[in-house]
Amino acid sequence: MHLSNIPSDLRYTKSHEWVRAAHGEPDGTVEIGITEHAQSALGDLVFVEVPEVGRAVKAGEASAVVESVKAASDVYSPVSGKVTASNGQLATQPELLNQDPYGAGWMFRVQTNAPVDDSALLSAADYANYLAEEAK
């Protein structure tokens, strides 16, 4: 298995989402997407359903759907809060998730109204270890 790209400035979940704390935003808005490993495992993505702006999501709740040619998979919000933005470009260009999962392939932003509970999330190093364990 090839080594996945796992940026060190992000936090991760065991269900292969990433969380980016927006810089300089005091309201605790975070950006969410799926990892390089996830997009690679899913294969060519052909359909993405992102949550509507304004929707309240809970940590661990299925909040978006990504579909590859083969199968549909839920994307779970790693945090609780209100959706403030979602990436409309993915509707017409789902391949952005394959090409640039940490950049142009971001999925949605959630305003958490409270500091994100980091203890529930994995660091880049922990996520890398988790992937290595999963591959065994």
Binding site: G43, D44, V46, A72, A91
Partner: protein, 358 residues
């Protein structure tokens, strides 16, 4: 560990993502399933289909045996090399498997069956072959490569030995023949022109690499599924199975009721359904974004049997079993919501061209 074809190591070396398929470790794709799909529609791609079961049936009464075993009539095969697509049925009319049968000679027919059903097929064939003193031999010594696409034949021919090249170049669609120890047929499962080549397993890797050097794109089971669905072709286990008869599986055209005195296995069970309205298999086009999947509910009635995203149409398509009385406009339930879909004529795509407007 699953079963491996003679090309397994080659697939791994060439970057294949390997998945289990009917007990076999097969390539799903070599990087991008969609690119592989387009390569077959626009140029040429190749598939390792060595996992499929090649069974040689030999005996003086082999034709008589197959006229009893198969729902289609091998009596239609008059010219050696000609192929026929058929179902093999249970007495209940349920489909044991779908297969291709080649008429090789008056004492030799070759059938190609699905990988996942191979063992039960062989057992069934042997049980029914015994009274006809026909032998059934599984040709595990052969590998099979399907080369498909508008440029598949012209890219393959230069690699063949001169005698093979001349004969293969003249094959009409749905014909095959043995040339210099290789069986070459102008058949496939993609809706494109091309060859299916059965060759000694020891020659498989060398041949695969030579085909690749000709610019033929290795393609995995992922592309094979989207290509066959666009071509409106059934997949055993999805679109037909032992619980459904061919008339409700889009396969009425493969059941030869004439001549009326040919008593093939399953015939009795089909006599009532052929005269009464029931279900049929139809093509579906999703009118919105999203992806149709097998087992999704069709409203007012029916079920998706195979669904996918069509790379050629850039829309989701499916095969679905619905009542014959269904109107063109239906809805499909995807994750609890109803989405409009239309019943359309299949195939969706053939010879690189969309046959339905989206």
């Amino acid at each position: 560990m699953g079963l491996k074809t003679a090309l397994y190591d080659t697939h791994v070396l060439q970057g294949a993502k390997i998945v289990d398929f009917g007990g076999w470790e097969m390539p799903l794709h070599y990087g991008s399933q969609i690119e592989e799909h387009h390569a077959v529609r626009r140029d040429a791609g190749m598939f390792d289909v060595s996992h499929m079961g090649v069974v040689d049936l030999i005996g003086d009464r082999v034709r008589e045996f197959l006229r009893s075993l198969l729902a289609n009539d091998v009596g239609r095969l008059k010219v050696p090399g000609k192929a026929l697509y058929s179902c093999m049925l249970l007495p209940s009319g349920g489909v044991i498997d779908d297969l291709i049968v080649y008429f090789m000679s008056d004492t030799w027919f070759r059938v190609v069956v699905n990988a996942g059903t191979r063992d039960k097929d062989l057992a069934w064939i042997r049980r029914h072959a015994a009274p006809f003193t026909v032998s059934a031999t599984l040709r595990s010594d052969l590998a099979m490569i399907a080369i498909q696409g508008p440029n598949a034949r012209e890219k393959t021919l230069p690699l063949l030995a001169p005698a093979q090249r001349a004969a293969a170049g003249e094959l009409a669609p749905f014909f095959g023949g043995t040339f210099d120890g290789w069986f070459i047929a102008r058949t496939g499962y993609t809706g494109e022109d091309g060859f299916e080549v059965m060759l000694p397993a020891a020659d498989a890797a060398k041949t695969w690499n030579a085909l690749r050097a000709q610019g033929i794109q290795p393609a995995g089971l992922g592309a094979r599924d989207t290509l066959r669905l666009e071509a409106g072709m059934n997949l055993y286990g999805n679109d037909m199975d032992e619980n459904h008869h061919p008339l409700e599986s889009g396969l009425a055209w493969t059941v030869a009721f004439e001549p009326g005195d040919r008593d093939f296995i399953g015939r009795g069970a089909l006599e009532i359904p052929r005269r009464t309205p029931g279900d049929e298999l139809v093509g579906l086009l999703l009118e919105e974004r999203g992806v149709l999947r097998s087992h999704q509910k069709v409203v007012p009635a029916g079920e998706v049997t195979s669904g996918t995203f069509s790379p050629t149409l850039n829309r989701s398509i499916a095969l679905a079993r619905v009542p014959k009385t269904a109107s063109v406009g239906v809805q499909v339930e995807i994750r609890g919501k109803l989405h409009p879909a239309s019943i359309v004529k299949t195939p969706f795509v053939r010879h690189g061209k969309a046959l339905i407007s989206v």
